[in-house]
């Protein structure tokens, strides 16, 4: 594995290996000294063309726990806002010494361009490209799901996938890189995926995807999924006629208290709720649901560091 650009191209063996290494990395986070010397002397650059403090600090924490040096490059207020090209920015970072570039960019395919051109020779990690993919988010979601699934099954998660697990992903699939990355990865790991969204927020062509599409959240929940992932609704969608109002969206596609009660009433005790954050409380998820024991949102955040440690380790240690 030279780069991590998407989960579309990630095979099961590689995916399970990343999750297994992440299990080891997670134990580092529970130690008194949360640091490994694995990448001492190596340099990781985070290249963020979009604001995303959460993802950036998660990668930064991951790199630092592996003892790597970290260069943070934020596009706002930099030469990029003065018209510098992606090529020049990436080459500059490499000239400074970056060996791995973690890139977040608003343009779909930006990470692939860095990886597949001769602009730079560094390892490239896609930290979210436009509405294409966000592979480390999907890996941390899969890691969180796998721990839950193993617990339910009473087995050791190491070496396992998500075979037989049913996952419902709800919200703006059209604009979501998280939804796409999760679809491919969860399918590769053996889960069944259902997308629930208004038809306006599903891409044309999604009917060819290996998932079930349902416009009705209650119907999808009634099937008793093992996990429900709520996607963030971006503010700018509200003015573009994707749905009539936030109130109507929330009633039809929000995980509200009534739907939380419905899971309880049906005895679906092992159904967990995920959200990639940041949450719009009261829109796609109610406070009651977000704060319920079913919600694993903070575990997702913690697991994100472990998964990103695993990815950086596997890409930079050359041990693969």
């Amino acid at each position: 594995m030279k780069h991590l650009l998407s989960t579309y191209d990630l095979g099961r063996e590689d995916a399970v290996r990343i999750l297994d290494v992440a299990e080891e990395m997670a134990t580092v986070g529970t130690r008194e000294i949360k640091k490994l010397p694995a990448l001492r002397g190596r340099t990781v650059a985070t290249l963020f063309f979009e604001d995303s403090t959460r993802t950036r600090i998660s990668f930064e924490a991951a790199a630092k726990r592996l003892s790597a040096d970290v260069i943070n490059f934020a596009a706002k207020g930099s030469s990029v806002s003065k018209g510098e090209s992606l090529k020049d920015t990436a080459q500059t970072l490499e000239a400074i010494g970056a060996e791995a570039v973690v890139i977040r960019h608003g343009a779909s395919g930006a990470a692939a361009r860095l990886a597949e051109t001769d602009w730079i020779s560094s390892a490239v990690v896609n930290a979210g490209d436009g509405t294409h993919e966000h592979p480390t988010q999907a890996l941390l979601d899969a890691f969180t799901l796998r721990q839950h699934w193993a617990r339910v099954k009473g087995v050791d998660p190491l070496g396992t996938g998500l075979d037989g697990m049913s996952v419902v992903i709800v919200g703006d699939v059209l604009h979501s890189r998280v939804a796409r990355s999760n679809l491919w990865l969860l399918k590769t790991l053996g889960a069944d995926v259902t997308f629930v969204a208004p038809p306006t927020l599903l891409p044309i062509g999604a009917d060819a995807w290996p998932c079930t599409i349902n416009y009705d959240l209650d119907d999808a929940l009634a099937a008793g999924p093992d996990a429900v992932m709520m996607l963030r609704v971006q503010a700018e969608r509200m003015n573009a006629a994707y749905f009539p109002s936030t109130a109507e969206y929330s009633r039809r596609w929000g995980f509200d208290d009534a739907r939380l009660a419905m899971l309880d009433a049906r005895g679906l005790d092992d159904t967990i709720i995920l959200h990639p954050g940041p949450m719009n409380r009261g829109l796609e998820i109610s406070a009651g649901a977000a704060d319920s024991p079913r919600a694993v949102v903070l575990q997702q955040v913690s697991n994100g560091v472990a998964v990103r440690m695993a990815v950086l380790y596997l890409l930079l240690s050359g041990d693969h």
Partner: protein
């Protein structure tokens, strides 16, 4: 004129006219002076330069109705000189220069400038296209009549790159050009349905997360425009048709007797939206590459005459316009130097068309649509000597670095294709000989 300005006499030996039996052609004084045994027997043949055309196919010089020469304004991308050199090497003897230059070709002054730059270069006829609306802004008509009456004698009008989307303005343009037998060449793209569009909307865009350019945005404008053309009894040309649905609409319109012609680009006959999976913007073009099903429908339509012509939509860009993220990249591909090979590969080698059909869609009909009187003529005695000699058996690997166009944005880079232009004669002047640029037509020869 001095004698050096006189066109050289050429005796072409053994060329297969439109793929038929080998024949000799004598070119003298810019015209086809003799054909067959009479050619070598003609006394002018004594002083003629002999061109051995054994195994070569003779075609009427190709006429492109859709070329972006970029001059004036974007001489960093292409100039009339470089673009017409590329055209001659590609087998063309005439190109229509699209109006989206800077300044826009929306006045008699700009079209005459482009026209005279073409004359000065002398590699092909440069026929400027006039903008339909001032500044391509889609708000008010350009002085279409002034451009028609200028020395450039514009007959094709287009806002290409942008759709004339206002239905009233489109109606008026269609009506107005009737007074000088002009034609409106529409870039069919409903603007609201394609805001921010990056590629064909379908299964590939869904995976790639690139905003989609739906087929309906093209088809709905074509449907509207053929009905407008019928209503006002005018002539409509549809640029770069890209979808199977558009083909159905045009077929229906023709069956109704509507005066519509249509064009397809070589790249839409070969490439699909699967290419976007690389995120390499060399495959970014407008209209976008479509599905396999569309490619097959376009080939069928070109073969059965529903689509009338090949238009290259040659769109050179400087390197930095493509060396970036897909969404930031400019749209367009070069095409002049690969058009013949791609059409041979997709239409002739598949058995769907003959070389005579090729001559119809690349020369005769585009000249008729553009009302270019001395182009697209038969290979017969007395006709202007606009001729392309092709080695159909040759195979070559496309190398954008080796092209005459300044654009390096060929989507066919690295592809092995059939067919090479060996010679191009432009009013008797050998602009290309032995596959290399030879000499342009000089100023004196235009008289």
């Amino acid at each position: 004129m001095t004698s050096t300005a006189a066109t050289e006499t050429h005796l072409i030996r053994g060329a297969s006219l439109l793929g038929g039996e080998p024949t000799d052609l004598l070119l003298a004084d810019g015209r086809i002076a003799a054909v067959g045994d009479a050619a070598a027997a003609d006394e002018r043949a004594q002083q003629a330069t002999v061109v051995d055309a054994d195994g070569l196919i003779a075609l009427p010089g190709m006429v492109d109705l859709h070329t972006h020469l970029r001059e004036p304004g974007r001489e960093d991308a292409e100039t009339v000189e470089t673009g017409t050199r590329a055209a001659a090497l590609g087998g063309f003897t005439a190109v229509h220069a699209m109006a989206n230059s800077n300044p826009v070709a929306d006045t008699a002054g700009v079209v005459e400038q482009v026209w005279s730059l073409g004359r000065r270069s002398g590699w092909v006829d440069v026929r400027p296209v006039g903008a339909v609306t001032v500044g391509l802004a889609g708000e008010r008509l350009s002085e279409l009549g002034a451009m028609a009456e200028s020395r450039a004698a514009v007959r094709v009008f287009s806002d290409d790159g942008i759709c004339v989307h206002d239905p009233v303005l489109m109606r008026r343009a269609l009506e107005y050009v009737k007074s000088f037998d002009g034609v409106v060449a529409q870039h069919a793209q409903e603007p609201r349905l394609t805001e921010g569009a990056q590629m064909n909307e379908g299964t590939v865009s869904a995976v790639l997360g690139l905003p989609g350019w739906p087929a309906v945005a093209e088809e709905s404008i074509i449907a509207r425009d053929v009905l407008l053309a019928e209503h006002v009894d005018s002539r409509l040309h549809v640029c770069h048709v890209s979808t199977a649905g558009s083909v159905d609409i045009i077929r229906w319109a023709k069956s109704r007797g509507i005066n519509v012609t249509a064009e397809v680009t070589p790249h839409h006959l070969l490439l699909t939206d699967e290419k976007a999976r690389t995120y390499n913007p060399v495959y970014k073009v407008n209209p976008p590459l479509r599905r396999e099903k569309d490619v097959m429908a376009l080939r069928e339509a070109l073969a059965d005459g529903t689509i009338d012509i090949i238009g290259t939509d040659h769109a050179p860009h400087p390197t930095e316009a493509k060396e970036c993220e897909w969404a930031q990249a400019a749209m367009g591909m070069t095409g002049l130097e690969t058009a013949l090979s791609v059409v041979q590969h997709t239409m002739i080698e598949t058995g769907m068309m003959t070389w005579a059909d090729f001559a119809r869609v690349t020369s005769t009909t585009p000249a008729e649509i553009g009302l270019v009187a001395d182009q697209g003529r038969p290979l017969a005695v007395g006709e202007p000597a606009n001729i392309t000699l092709v080695d159909a058996d040759a195979r070559w690997t496309v190398d954008p670095e080796a092209m005459a166009t300044m654009g390096r944005n060929s989507p066919f880079s690295g592809l092995e294709l059939p067919g090479r232009v060996r010679a191009t004669f432009f009013h008797g002047t050998a602009t290309v000989l032995d596959g290399e640029l030879n000499t342009p037509r000089t100023a004196g020869e235009w008289a």
